[in-house]
Amino acid sequence: MSECCGSLRVGQKAPDFLLETFDPAKQVFGEVSLKKLMAAKKWTVLFFYPADFTFV
């Protein structure tokens, strides 16, 4: 994640990430990474927003 900035483009490899998560379906905490999603052959949507308790 240290490779720097402004080089993000469609058609290129997406940067890996590792996040703690809350899973509303199971009501449990967990972790997710792009590596893990790729290993599971999943499509990924990253949906960034400014803050909880605001409109999305």
Partner: protein, 125 residues
């Protein structure tokens, strides 16, 4: 995902009725590392802008959209893009034209024959 902790995600999801049916993972990025890597970090506020990305199972970034704080996204458009990407992944020679909505709508096979003949190609089906 936002820079809130997983605890705040939990509190928000349980409190806000509009989130009652949410089933996707809520990611927490308190350090802002992922926000930074995906170029959504607003240095002036420390908050994430409304960025949306679609990544293929192979880890390739396929779509990118960015809205300012005060403009919400169109989920129908996001679903359209996901459908299009899945179709294109299975048919790499095809292209999904503007206004395409779902599987079964006309797609294009770019070729020398189509140069100047897109209108005709769009009428087929």
């Amino acid at each position: 995902m936002s820079r809130d902790t997983k605890f705040v995600h939990l509190a928000w999801q349980r409190d806000e009725k509009a989130l009652a049916n949410v089933r996707y993972l809520m990611g927490s990025d308190p350090t802002g590392a992922a926000c930074h890597a995906y170029n959504v970090l607003d240095e002036a506020t420390g908050l994430a802008l409304r960025g949306t990305y679609i990544i293929s199972p192979q880890g390739v970034l396929l779509n990118s959209e960015m809205n300012f704080y005060n403009l919400g996204r169109n989920i129908d458009e996001l679903i359209r893009k996901i459908r299009a990407n899945i179709l294109l992944a299975g048919s790499p020679a095809e292209a999904v034209p503007a206004q395409w909505k779902r599987k079964g709508d006309v797609t294009l096979k770019p070729s020398i024959k189509m140069v100047g003949r897109v209108a005709e190609a769009m009428k087929k089906k």
